[in-house]
Amino acid sequence: MSCFTNKYADELVKNAAYIGTPGKGILAADESTGTIGKRLSSINVENIEENRRSLRELLFCTPGALECLSGVILFEETLYQKTASGKPFVDVLKEGGVLPGIKVDKGTVELRGTNGETTTQGLDGLGQRCAKYYEAGARFAKWRAVLKIGLTEPSELAIHENAYGLARYAAICQENGLVPIVEPEILVDGSHDIEKCAAVTERVLAACYKALNDHHVMLEGTLLKPNMVTPGSDAPKVAPEVIAEFTVRALQRTVPAAVPAIVFLSGGQSEEQATCNLNAMNKLKTKKPWALSFSFGRALQQSTLKAWAGKTENVGKARAAFLCRCKANSEATLGKYQGNATLGEGASESLHVKDYKY
């Protein structure tokens, strides 16, 4: 069979298309326990389950926020958590018209013989885990592969290994009713210019789609979560319009029209930068057969976190900051963002952390 068709095919297509609804995007709230710990410690909050739960409740129950979202990616712990009044988070999301998603990878490990390149783990038992997550209410999944740009990177080996890992994961997800988000992140670290990033991105995406096709993944039931094409973190900055042109061109060259939506990662960009870049892409007049939207973690939560600082009395302020970013990005998916949405503290702060590891 050229691509499988099983009982989930129609549902996968429907859900993938829904994620790309104009005016909506994804909140990536799937920080692992370790990673969320770093966030919490940055605002002097203890990394205990209750605090992790409170933070997510703060986000998901922000009035008006869910209207700007089509999906939220969760970490496993969160998939089974509830609000303080006992309502499961998945129900909160579903009632708000938001699809729950689940991070299913198990982190990266180094590839022997490379210069610090990695592959992503998580295929063992993935089928059973996906089935379990589907039962718990998840409808899409996420797996983050990581590549970097260097003198000799990304190597053929790293590209091949990560592309085929993504393809296996994607095929298994679809077998179990979850729309796979395919995320081949090329880290922004480095002093390379935007052309280099573009060429590497095109090479990586070509390999990814080759792998997906070889694995008979149904593209209409997938999403892509790529990096935007930008200069390296140590290279001179360029305007959002330039980023938009290079990014969309790279996607035109590699992503078949069957893919319904492309949801960008923010990768260390500030909240404002990420929004402006997304907006510029949606304003660009060129062939864009897929929706262009967001799947932001830090770029949606940064100023919210700062405003909250772990204090109950700040929840209102924190929610206002979160809603502000949600609306800004919602507008950006329509190319209508005017810029500088009541800048919360930290909205312009770069969120880049060198050699970022989850």
Partner: protein
Amino acid sequence: MASASFLKSSPVLDKSEFVKGQTLRLPSASIVRCRPAAPSVLTVRAGSYAEELVKTAKTIASPGRGILAMDESNATCGKRLASIGLENTEANRQAYRTLLVTVPGLGDYVSGAILFEETLYQSTTDGKKMVDVLVEQKIVPGIKVDKGLVPLAGSNDESWCQGLDGLASRTAAYYQQGARFAKWRTVVSIPNGPSALAVKEAAWGLARYAAISQDNGLVPIVEPEILLDGEHGIERTFEVAQKVWAEVFFYMAENNVLFEGILLKPSMVTPGAECKDRATPEQVAEYTLKLLHRRIPPAVPGIMARSFLSGGQSEVEATLNLNAMNQSANPWHVSFSYARALQNTCLKTWGGRPENVKAAQEALLIRAKANSLAQLGKYTGEGESDEAKKGMFVKNYAY
């Protein structure tokens, strides 16, 4: 797709560097020293012709227009001439091609014409260069550059397409002569597998041809034809087509082909010729469009579908299929690259007689206009002649 600079960066030194006498360094991660990435320049792929290639491709893929394939080899042209009782002489081929390129107003519906090498260097019977006549008609001249199919050793009785040797100098010469696009037709056979080897060879050959053509200023039309012969159903064709196109695009990417400067000539997705289940134009359109959506990057400006007259289609069916594919917006221009689907009635009407030239030219124009409407999704099929509706199947059809 990487620019040349970092294609060369590799931790494993290739043979040529060793031969040049450099010390063979162990490719250890920490002490890899390779040629540093070249200072970034604008990644201009396809050499200096990039802009022109993009412009030419867009021109050929203009709304309401498509390609007239008139690149029959001498042998094949001989068969056409024989069918109307004419001898296969250069004069007759010249007369026939003159008839085609001088159709008044052809450029309204035809954006490009693929020529055989002889024709590229020929003049019309009035002494004007064929290419000049075409250019005046606002038709871009193209040239067939492959050297035909030969048996593929080690395969399951399959073929591969020759023509890479000296292709760079040939394409450069053709560009000088006025050609601005090229065509290379390779085939894949479903009854014979196709074997992974045959698919790989077809895809890689196309990728190399495309890269070389672009390097010399010609927009490559990429044509992996999936032969109609066979009893297989439409699902099987669909499966094979998806595999073939995935390989083709991946290898083209590896060869740094500029996708904004290519055109595709896919075969539509249909059941095999001997399959008892037939398909409607709507079904063919559905499967073909699905294939294109799943495999063709939006950067490609035009898809010039081939017809299947050799598979029993009639001229009208070819037009209907094209029309069905243009009932809603596509990310790429979907048009025609037809040979017999345009020429069949015209040839018969001519019959080799000068007094029939006008009528023959009108017949060609009628088909060209019908397909133009089909490209715009507006073909209604009114007023079609019986000749145009006749099917023509030739088993084991070979060019």
